[in-house]
C-alpha cells in the first residue's frame, strides 16, 4: 500500500470513529430541538421549548436530586472503603490479595441486571430495608471497583520509605498517611471520584430493580416517562446530561490530567 492510500485509510478510520462517537450525541441534541410533539429525526423545525420543559417536569426534578445524591454519596462511600483497600493491597503483602481484588471487581463483571435482581430478591424483600438505602448500597458497590483500581494505579509510584521517613520525623502512622500518602494520590482520588460519579449517575440496570413509589433515579424516571409521553423532552434531557458529563470530564482533564489515571 502506498503512503497516500495509507493516509486515506487512517483518515477514514478516524472519521468513522468520530462519527460513531459523536454522531449519536448530535442526533440527540437535534432531536431534542425538534418543533414537534413527538420525537423526530431529522428535526422538523427548531425550538428550545423541550429543553425548557425538562426543568418543569416535577418527577425529573426529584429523580435528578436522587441521582445526584446517590452519585455523590455513593462515590464518597466507595472512596472511603476503596482508598484504604487500595492502600492495603499496595502496601502489604496480603495473603488473599488476589481474591480480594477479584471480589472487589465482581460488581463490574457480573451483569447489572443480576446484581439488581439479587439485591431486590435477597436484600430488599426479606429484610425490608428502604429502597433508597438499597440503592445507596448498590451504587457504592458498583463504584467501588473503579475507586480501588484508579486509586491503586496512582499509588504504584508511592514508595513505602516516604512514610517511614515521615514516621521518623515524628508522624504517627495515620499522620504519615494523611500528610504524605494522601497529598500524593490526590489526583488519583479525584479521578476516581469523577469516574465513580459518572458511572453511578448513568447507571441503569441495577437501579431498574430498585425503585419504589417516588424513589427513582433519573435514568429510570426517563424510561418511565417515555412509556407514557413521547415528546422530544427526553432527548433534550439526555443532551443536557451528556453535556454535564462532558463538562465534568473536561474540567477534570484540564485541572489534573484525569486521563493519566483511568
Amino acid at each position: 500500500m502506498n503512503t497516500s492510500m495509507r493516509h486515506l485509510a487512517n483518515w477514514s478510520i478516524l472519521g468513522l470513529t468520530l462519527t460513531f462517537l459523536i454522531g449519536p450525541f448530535l442526533i440527540i441534541i437535534l432531536a431534542g430541538a425538534s418543533n414537534t410533539e413527538y420525537l423526530a429525526f431529522p428535526p422538523e423545525g427548531l425550538t428550545l421549548k423541550w429543553y425548557l420543559k425538562v426543568f418543569t417536569v416535577e418527577s425529573f426534578r426529584a429523580s435528578f436530586l436522587l441521582s445526584m445524591a446517590l452519585a455523590v454519596f455513593g462515590t464518597l462511600a466507595a472512596l472511603l472503603l476503596g482508598v484504604p483497600a487500595a492502600y492495603a493491597l499496595n502496601r502489604y503483602d496480603l495473603p488473599m490479595a488476589e481474591t480480594v481484588r477479584t471480589i472487589v471487581a465482581a460488581p463490574i463483571i457480573v451483569p447489572g441486571i443480576i446484581v439488581g435482581l439479587a439485591l431486590l430478591r435477597y436484600m430488599v424483600v426479606p429484610t425490608g430495608v428502604t429502597v433508597t438505602l438499597a440503592l445507596f448500597m448498590a451504587h457504592t458497590a458498583l463504584v467501588l471497583p473503579y475507586a480501588v483500581r484508579v486509586v491503586s494505579s496512582s499509588m504504584t509510584n508511592l514508595r513505602a520509605d516516604m512514610e517511614e521517613a515521615a514516621v521518623l520525623l515524628g508522624c504517627s502512622r495515620l499522620q504519615a498517611f494523611t500528610k504524605v500518602v494522601l497529598p500524593n494520590i490526590r489526583g488519583g482520588v479525584l479521578a476516581a471520584f469523577i469516574l465513580g460519579f459518572v458511572t453511578s449517575f448513568n447507571q441503569v440496570p441495577v437501579s431498574l430493580f430498585l425503585s419504589g413509589p417516588g424513589v427513582r433515579t433519573l435514568p429510570i424516571d426517563m424510561l418511565a416517562y417515555m412509556e407514557i409521553t413521547f415528546d422530544p423532552s427526553v432527548a433534550a434531557l439526555s443532551a443536557l446530561l451528556a453535556f454535564m458529563s462532558l463538562a465534568i470530564v473536561f474540567t477534570a482533564e484540564r485541572l489534573l490530567g484525569f486521563s493519566r489515571y483511568v
Partner: protein
C-alpha cells in the same frame, strides 16, 4: 560497656524465616562517628532500620542513652535516618521537606524558618527552597534528605550511603561538612558506605560487616594496618592475598619460595608493599598504568597476577617484558585462616 550510648545486644534481625543479621553485639559511644562498611547485602541497611525502629528485632535488645528502646515505636525514638533512596516527599518543596519534622513539633514559625534555612545552608542548598524534589539532581535531593534529618537534632543520626550520589568534589565537601556538623553538635552518627576510603577518612571507628556478622571492628588506623582476616584485608586494599604452605606461597597456578617460614597461614601485601625492579622472582608485565606518583603494574607470575606499585623514578618496563619482584616477609601482613 557502661559508656555505651547505643547498645545492640544479641540482636537478631530477620525477614520472615530468613535471618539477615544473627546475634549482633555492638556498642557505640556518645558523639562517635561510626562507619558501617561491607559488601552489598551484608545487612547494613537492615541494622540501621532496626536501630531506627522500622524493623522489629526477632531477638535481642537495643538500648539508647541507657533506655531500652527495643519496643519503642520509631516516631518516639528521636533517631534520624537518611535513606539510601532519599525518601523525600515529592509534593513538598525543599524548604517544606526540611521543615516537615519541625512543623510536627509545632514550633513557632520564626524558629521553623530559621532552622530550616540554616539546615539548607549547611548542605549548600540556599536558594533551592522552592524547588520540588523532581526538579533537583540526585545529589541535591540527597542533601535535602540530609538537611531534613539534621534540623531535627536527633540523638542518633543514621546515614545510609549519604554521599553515594555526589561527584568527587562535592563528596569531599559534604564529607568535611558532615564531620564539622558532627563535631559541633556532638550527634552520634552511624553511616553506611561501600567506600573504604570514605570510612577511613570520616569514621572514629569502622564496623566491617560480612553476612550479617561483624568481621572486624576498630579505628581506621587499626583496620588499615592490621586487618585480621583475608576478607578484612581485601576490603582495606590488600590486593595480593596468598595461602602459605611451609616455606612457600601456594596458589592454584603455582608456588613461590619465601625467605623464611612465616607464622601465619595467609599473607597479604598491598600493591605498594611489593618490591618491583629487583628481587629473587621474575614475572612478565601484564599491564601497567600511570597513577601520578607511581606506576601500577600487574605482574604475571608463577602465582598468577600480582598487583605492584613501582616508584615513578624506576624506568617503565614495557608490556610483556620480564620484571623482577619480591614479596618480602617484612612488609607482609599475616592473617588468620
Amino acid at each position: 560497656m557502661s559508656d555505651a550510648f547505643v547498645q545492640l545486644s544479641d540482636l537478631t534481625l530477620s525477614y520472615g524465616k530468613s535471618v539477615a543479621v544473627p546475634n549482633l553485639d555492638l556498642s557505640i559511644r556518645e558523639g562517635e562517628l561510626i562507619a558501617l562498611l561491607g559488601p552489598s547485602g551484608c545487612g547494613k541497611t537492615t541494622t540501621m532500620r532496626a536501630i531506627a525502629g522500622l524493623l522489629s528485632p526477632t531477638g535481642g535488645t537495643i538500648t539508647i542513652d541507657g533506655r531500652d528502646v527495643t519496643r519503642v515505636p520509631a516516631n518516639k525514638r528521636g533517631i534520624g535516618l537518611v535513606f539510601q533512596s532519599y525518601a523525600l516527599f515529592p509534593h513538598l518543596t525543599a524548604f517544606e521537606n526540611v521543615a516537615f519534622g519541625l512543623r510536627l513539633q509545632k514550633l513557632p514559625e520564626a524558629e521553623i524558618k530559621q532552622r530550616t534555612e540554616e539546615g539548607l545552608a549547611t548542605v549548600g542548598l540556599t536558594g533551592f527552597e522552592k524547588r520540588k524534589p523532581a526538579e533537583m539532581s540526585g545529589g541535591q535531593q540527597q542533601r535535602v534528605a540530609l538537611a531534613r534529618s539534621l534540623v531535627m537534632r536527633p540523638k542518633v543520626l543514621l546515614l545510609d550511603e549519604p554521599l553515594s550520589n555526589l561527584d568527587a568534589r562535592l563528596r569531599l565537601e559534604m564529607r568535611t561538612e558532615l564531620q564539622r556538623v558532627q563535631k559541633e553538635t556532638g550527634i552520634t552518627m552511624v553511616f553506611v558506605t561501600h567506600d573504604q576510603a570514605e570510612a577511613l577518612a570520616l569514621a572514629d571507628r569502622i564496623v566491617l560487616m560480612k553476612d550479617g556478622k561483624i568481621e572486624q571492628l576498630g579505628t581506621p588506623a587499626d583496620l588499615y594496618a592490621r586487618p585480621e582476616t583475608a576478607f578484612a584485608a581485601e576490603f582495606m586494599g590488600f590486593e595480593n592475598i596468598f595461602k602459605v604452605e611451609g616455606e612457600e606461597i601456594v596458589t592454584t597456578s603455582g608456588r613461590l619460595p619465601l625467605e623464611a617460614r612465616p607464622e601465619s597461614p595467609i599473607l597479604a601485601w598491598r600493591p605498594d608493599a611489593v618490591t618491583v625492579g629487583s628481587g629473587p622472582h621474575e614475572g612478565r608485565v601484564a599491564a601497567c598504568s600511570f597513577a601520578g606518583a607511581h606506576r601500577e603494574y600487574v605482574i604475571d607470575s608463577a602465582l598468577g597476577p600480582i598487583k605492584a606499585d613501582a616508584a615513578i623514578t624506576l624506568p617503565e618496563v614495557p608490556l610483556g617484558e620480564a620484571i623482577r619482584f619480591d614479596l618480602p616477609l617484612a612488609t607482609a601482613r599475616g592473617l588468620a585462616a
